[in-house]
Symmetry: C2
Subunit: 1009 residues, 2 copies
């Protein structure tokens, strides 16, 4: 195939979109980060006027500069931007056509629409859509804009943003852009590579921070001045300049988190004013581009049929959608699974088996043997009181007449019955069962409407919101189309095939044939079937290189989130194995895995255990235990699979190169040299910088160490680890991939020559349960500081809101203490931490924190399978020491399970109940022990230890020993004796027994108490 040139791609796209009714305009004359910022998008998507435009936009993103060394990442890349307003109804298909115009055959590649929720807070804009992946490479962003500059868009615009460099690389099956032709025999690299170097150097090293700040101020002041005069485009220009100045500062690392917010707020505010002003301006101009409304509503093309089969028939509903996000595929499935049986019940429709399926492009409901009609029914309808309905002579009064008429019966047919002691007239209303098609035609729109998603979007003038646009319905009862319309789409009997086959329209002859047709089209409807197929293919592919895929099954359901997601991204899964360079294995293992799994949705591979049961010992610390291979899941068959493989390999190679770039840059400094830079990173305005936090952690950990029973010779290690724990936050690698925090810290600590224990602790301190005691100490210091700090600052979680992740922090305190089984005094820890905070944390706030921790502890224990009452009983006494609580809960649950438990509990309970209301604790004076039984009880009691240290077993064993004495006591002795001294003596004795549970558990919270 002849190679493409960069300029050809542009000319072809211009021609394609011009021939599809788009204006072709030019790049903007000031640096923008994306084509979205060009007024031809930012402004024109506002308001009701139609607007179809396409233009090239060289987009400048300073912090993407790689000195011309990365094959995929540049400070300036070239976007081709298309705006379609309103949604033409088939934007994905138009887009795919445009790729064909470039020579990209969807049959030869893997083209995927992968969820992407676009958001640009700096200009108060958001939309939903996808990244479009071509063989694993993101080549396009496809977005339905919902809001711009804070203004809700109506109609919605479709934005298609092509990444031209990536498209050229893919088209030419190249490793890098540099040697590909721009045009006229000149390479892309010749034109841009030196510039890439120069600009990268400028943005990262040379740009003057003070001057850039001044520019920002000047630009924003000019924007204000323009807005004051209603000059919107000039104002917008300055907003763009502000943005670029900000980006320069950011690339120079001169922006703290707190500052970032302030910058954004300022820009957002300006953008909002421009957007609102523009809406107003267009309105004043009376929307010159607004043509006569051409939305002659599409009507159902399927005429209703008056006669139909009277036998039960299969019903199938297929809701055809543009690619749903993976989660929404599941969400919709669950809702339909719950909803359909109820719905059929409500509709009084007899039915056979119900099946629900979901794929990224279709939600399917299939019902066997659906009755052709509702059954006829009789309903007894209550009317007015009899005496108001008829006079004494039985003549119908107006009330009866009205009631009869309303129910479509004659007054003669009204019956008088007694109800609730009164007499009323009743009508027996016969309801003729309606034909099922009629019932469904009414019900189906509501069914579709009832499906809700976490995030939904509008796309056409129906105003309906859904996860992604609905494009077709199949609704067949037998061979009859159930006609309905919803979201501007009418039902029919035509489905669409697989994306890689160009989504051909396929007619479904009848509901019975639906599954055959779908299977024949290559679509695997059943998610479990797709999943099984993927697992099978992945295993098979992995075995070819002697590897095993990392599925990372988690949780009780033992599911793999990656597997689940991948399953929901395809309708016809085909595994593709690719490789990457051995050199890349020198990157930290977690970086490799993170890139493969999170960014690319690939399955990484480890060497399979050798037959002797031992893995191949590659013995390397980095890329440890990984094979230089990956498995991707393509949507489609295996045509062109080599091209798909190469494409995916290229993408991964570029991503690893990018990671390499960061690591290489980062390790120019030692880890400890990053720590001072934490001062530039705001933790929270009320709580200071990350450096402040790090200092507090260091103070706190000195207090915590002895509480954790840590020896003095471990202390320096703990201190060093705490000292360095947060330093990686300001490295480029973590800035780029936040999920690698800690992991990178560990890696860099090792490279900086820190002791292994220190490195491990740094890496562990973000894990819920660190493995080492050192890691535990750092983690506790971190989490307790956060908890105490945020509560102290009045930022405790409320309702569902937990912006600082304090629930997780609390779990991260109690859970590891339990798992390490370390006794620990939360009260003391909170008190110590409170003293280090820059704000006052009063006692009642400290109590709130402890309550909050108790709450989390309860959740942890409940989730571990302990009974609520058991947990409550223990926590009532031992919540400040999670490890002890856990032990106690375990013991108590065992006791509760004993056959004699009711006896034990009852005996103890008698002691408690009778003394519960006493306000005073009475002393026992032996001289007043009158009866033998009470003397016996007293003696037995005195024989027992009473200091259990929270140990349930010890406590209950004592109780068990006391039972005979207690039983005798209550049988023979009248506690509430008339004589005060005697009475108080007896109560005092029982109180002492009851109080044995103090610090152990509050058994009164147990069932059966």
């Amino acid at each position: 195939m002849p190679k493409s040139s960069f300029q050809e791609i542009i000319l072809q796209l211009q021609e394609f979109w011009a021939s599809h009714g788009c204006l072709i305009t030019q790049p903007y004359y000031t640096q923008v980060g994306a084509g979205t910022m060009n007024p031809n998008t930012f402004l024109r998507v506002l308001g009701p006027e139609p607007w179809n435009v396409a233009y090239v936009e060289p987009s400048v993103r300073p912090d993407d500069g790689r000195y011309g060394e990365n094959p995929n990442r540049f400070q300036k890349h070239t976007q081709f931007q298309v705006i379609l307003k309103p949604d033409p109804g088939n934007p994905q298909e138009l887009y795919l056509e445009s790729l064909k115009a470039l020579g990209i055959d969807p049959r030869q590649h893997d083209i995927r629409f992968v969820e992407d929720n676009w958001e640009q807070p700096a200009i108060a804009a958001w939309g939903l859509g996808w990244e479009v992946w071509l063989d694993g490479q993101e080549i396009t962003q496809f977005t339905y804009f919902q809001q711009m500059g804070g203004v809700t868009l109506n109609p919605v615009s479709v934005e298609i943003t092509y990444g031209l460099e990536r498209i050229l690389i893919t088209l030419n099956n190249a490793k890098a852009i540099w040697d590909e032709e721009w045009g006229a025999g000149v390479t892309y690299g010749e034109i841009t590579r030196r510039e890439e170097f120069e600009h990268s150097k400028y943005y990262y090293e040379v740009a003057d921070v003070e001057r850039a700040r001044k520019m920002y101020d000047l630009f924003s002041a000019e924007a204000d001045a323009c807005l004051a005069q209603g000059l919107l485009v000039p104002a917008h220009d300055y907003i763009l300049k502000c943005n670029h100045a900000f980006n320069i500062l950011d690339a120079r690392g001169a922006i703290s988190i707190a500052e970032r917010q302030a910058f954004f707020r300022r820009i957002r505010e300006l953008a909002r004013r421009v957007a609102e002003g523009y809406e107003e301006q267009r309105k004043e101009l009376e929307y010159p581009l607004l043509k006569e409304s051409q939305t002659s509503k599409v009507k159902s093309q399927v005429a209703g049929r008056s006669t139909f089969d009277v036998r039960p028939a299969t019903f199938v509903l297929e809701i055809g959608v543009e690619e749903l996000p993976a989660n929404d595929v599941d969400t919709a499935y669950e809702q339909l699974t719950q909803r359909i049986p109820t719905l059929l019940n409500e509709l009084h429709l007899e039915h056979g088996n119900i099946r629900i399926f979901s794929t990224p492009r279709r939600l399917v409901v299939s019902i066997d043997s659906l009755a052709p009609n509702q059954p006829d029914r009789e309903d007894l309808v209550k009317g007015p009181p009899a005496d108001k309905a008829f006079d004494k002579d039985g003549i119908a009064l107006p009330a009866a007449m009205g009631f009869a008429k309303k129910n479509n019966v004659s007054t003669k047919d009204l019956e008088v019955r007694e109800e609730g002691g009164g007499k009323y007239v009743f009508a027996v209303v016969k309801q003729k069962g309606r034909p099922t098609p009629e019932v469904l035609a009414e019900a189906l729109p509501k069914l579709v409407e009832s499906i809700k998603f976490e995030k939904s979007m509008r796309w056409n003038d129906s105003g309906v919101a859904f996860s992604r646009p609905i494009r077709w319905y199949v609704a067949l009862l037998g061979d009859m189309v159930i006609p309905f319309e919803y979201a501007g789409v009418v039902s029919g009997n035509v489905t669409r095939g697989l994306r890689p086959y160009d989504s051909p329209e396929i007619k479904i002859p009848s509901a019975d044939k639906y599954f055959d047709v779908i299977r024949e089209a290559g679509i695997t409807l059943d998610k479990e079937e797709r999943k099984a197929s993927i697992v099978e293919q992945v295993k098979q592919a992995a075995s070819l290189v002697g590897g095993e895929a990392i599925f990372d099954y988690v949780g009780a359901s033992h599911d793999s989130p990656l597997l689940n997601e991948v399953t929901n991204l395809v309708e016809m899964p085909t595994a593709v194995m690719g490789g990457f360079s051995e050199e890349s294995l020198s990157l930290p293992r977690d970086v490799l895995i993170s890139v493969m799994k999170k960014h690319q949705r690939y399955f990484p591979l480890t060497p399979a255990p050798s037959p002797s049961g031992r893995g191949e010992s590659s013995g390397v610390r980095r890329g440890e235990g990984l094979l230089p291979h990956f498995i991707a899941i393509r949507n489609g068959d295996d045509i062109g699979i080599d091209m798909v493989r190469e494409g995916n390999e290229h993408v991964l190679g570029a991503r690893f190169a990018d990671a390499n770039f960061f690591v290489r840059e980062d390790v120019k400094l030692k880890l400890e040299e990053y720590r001072p830079k934490l001062s530039g990173l705001t933790f929270h305005t009320k709580l200071g910088s990350m450096l402040d936090k790090s200092d507090r952690m260091l103070k706190l950990v000195n207090d915590l160490a002895p509480m954790l029973g840590i020896t003095n010779n471990q202390l320096p290690t703990i201190q060093r680890a705490t000292f360095l724990a947060k330093a990686d936050l300001v490295t480029q690698m973590v800035t780029e991939m936040t999920s690698l925090q800690g992991i990178i810290g560990r890696e860099y600590a090792l490279r900086s020559g820190e002791p292994k224990e220190v490195a491990i602790a740094i890496g562990e301190h973000y894990q819920t349960v660190p493995q080492t005691k050192v890691g535990l100490a750092v983690a506790l210091a971190d989490r307790i500081d956060s908890l105490v700090g945020f509560f102290g600052a009045g930022l405790a979680p409320t309702g569902a809101k937990d912006p600082f992740g304090l629930r997780r922090a609390a779990i991260g305190i109690v859970q590891p203490l339990i798992e390490h089984d370390v006794d620990f005094d939360l009260v003391e820890a909170v008190r110590k931490s409170a003293k280090t905070q820059p704000i006052e944390v009063r006692d009642e706030v400290q109590n709130q924190i402890l309550d909050f921790l108790t709450g989390r502890l309860k959740v942890v224990l409940n989730e571990a399978g302990y009974k609520y009452d058991v947990v409550d009983a223990v926590l009532a006494e031992q919540s400040a020491n999670p490890a002890a609580s856990a032990r106690a809960v375990k013991q108590l649950q065992a006791w509760v399970g004993r056959g004699d438990w009711s006896t034990i509990l009852a005996s103890y309970a008698r002691c408690v109940r009778i003394t519960r209301d006493q306000k005073e604790t009475f002393k026992i004076k032996e001289k007043f022990l009158r009866e033998v039984e009470e003397r016996t009880l007293y003696e037995v009691f005195n024989l027992q230890s009473t200091d259990f240290n929270g140990d349930i077993d010890a406590f209950l064993k004592v109780i068990v020993k006391l039972i005979p004495s207690i039983t005798s006591f209550f049988e023979k002795v009248l506690v509430m004796a008339e004589e005060k001294d005697v009475r108080e003596n007896r109560l005092g004795l029982l109180q002492r027994i009851a109080n044995l549970a103090n610090g152990v558990a509050d058994l009164s919270k147990l069932e059966g108490f």
Copy 2:
């Protein structure tokens, strides 16, 4: 014809140039004033590498903003930029092809290449080329770059810059751009008009001057920082931002002339460093784009012939060029006219009639009956002295042998001859006449090389400089091609036809046929014939609307500069008459004429005198006496003439609209309100602002008025006129069209309600000879101030350099004084002015100034036809009073023409000569008057008046009366008597006669004295 859309034009041009080997790139990401500033031009034209690129460039020029009201002028217009490096040899033809691709048929339009010397001092860049006119509209700039960023370019790049808006207007035959389609059914106006308004308002009214200055400073500091690190593109970006900030300041009127220079210097310096750095960088990269040299020198395709005609034959040389500037058409003509006869003489070639012709595209030499050979010749060559050549025995010594050998003779043939008293050997060298073709083949390259122009340019790797590129030669002697090569072009027998006919190649069968072929091709070779044709056509067209064209014949040769220029712009003149709206006649007449003549090269029309001898009295002050018509001269025949007319009408309409815009803006203030703004306009750094100058003029005019004999009641008028004289310099109209200074001042003065006399004087004070005395006073104050100021500042003209136009200023002092015949004391005037200057003007400088004035006065008088000696004689005595000098010269010239002049002069001369060497002036003591003749002379002398006040007539009448007495005196009286008293008495008497000429003339300077 279907209308074009803006985006179609762009797509078509992209496609055209892509298919012609150009890279297609994108507009730059920061505001630029022109595509030249894009690094794809600015940087890539540097160094030896080839580079062919085309791109759109929306170009931002704040001070072209017209609030969206002008159909032709916008703050943002769209360029399409093409760079061809090196020159492909046929860039004009490629360009014309591209126009055809847009649907512009050269046969249907008038396409002209009009001289344009491009210069961009801000980036130290220049080049030569043309504006391309399409029906009078400038649609393209076409430039051969010679220098960029101060670096001389090698190879030269061709820059073609299309103005896309203008092309669309022309293509669609539209009145304005607004309603034309951009694409997809959306108009250009819809996309840009509101923005035009907003940006115009921003640039003119809202932009904050202080902030823009700060931006400029920040940008230039960043540029420095980038340069220090060798980051050229980032540095260049900031230069562009500096430029834009400067443009904003300029549009806000915030830049004084002095500041402007400082800004430019700074930007130029930065641009220079970027350019030099880039050259260095490419060199270090070893010029990656430099392919193997493909310059296999083209050789003459015409093989030499060994036999040829022996009869005399016609010779013709045609130098085919790209369109020469009008002046260069004349320059080349003059040089060839002088050179050819001399050349033929030097070449010893017999010849008949010589004819020279020049058109914009060809320089032609035709020689009748050119001899086929040089004649054989004998030359006598002088050798060494005889005694060094031969010994006593006549044997040849080495000197003789060497000499003989050198001259290709035998020593035997050497002759000894006497010369200048010595004996030398001589050789008689016989030279065989060479064939003419051989002689011409050698001589013609040198002939072409000898043609020099004021400004010349290089274009290809021959390195030759010429006015514009040479593209072909016809060189025929009879039917034989004289083969030669110069400037990379080889001679042949093929000429090219008319531009509008696509410059077809036409073979010339023989020199005799040349003129027939050319005439048949429609080309009028003879300039006078073209001129006559134009005059005839213009007169005829004018008569159709009852008008007369304004030719403005000037000077002694009674030529019209406009007519001359127009004649040199075409090879086939065809007059096209068009009209403009009557409304435009409300503009000042001079504005109308200036736009038509200077900008458009149109002939304006006035009403023809009616048969009764009186013009139609339109009676309006504005557009006074003009008809709303114009006549343009098209190059080509009358095909498509209506389209050409409409195009020209559109252009003129737009230009008038622009003028209207300025006038409307300007008259928002009264003229006097502009005066304070003169402080922002630097006159000269040493001499202050224009306001300072204006103040000085006001002071000076108070002194000059009485010297001019102006009455006190005229004084206020003069003061007011002087006060306002310079105010119009800061109006927008004058800023835009400097040639309207004064004219606009007059107009605005009237509109501001100033007295008519004041207005007229303002208007007149730039004219060489103001009509009114008031105007004269203002003009003198202006010019004397300039002269005294600049001389005082050491800035007197040197050699050919006269940057401040002081020669013209001096003529503007003496000439009007002569024409007004006002006696005036220049010495006094200079002295007064010197006192007002901000710097000291010493006496010797004042004398220099007076000498300089005398020099100009001499020129004026000589040019008026007076004899040099007469002028010298008078100026020796009366140069300080030009009017008197002029009167005296006139009188003296009359005397000199008299038949008895020699007698008169002789008589007077005798008195002068005999007394000339006396150092003392002797008193006459009557008692020593011994002889009757001396007494008589003394008595006659005493009867005469001796105070002539410079009056030649009075003086010479006295002399005439004295002649008899003088004659007798010299006959009878011995002047040099021995007796001292007597002798001195006689000398004293003659001295008194000689001194009669004091203050009148120095007759000793006359011929025959």
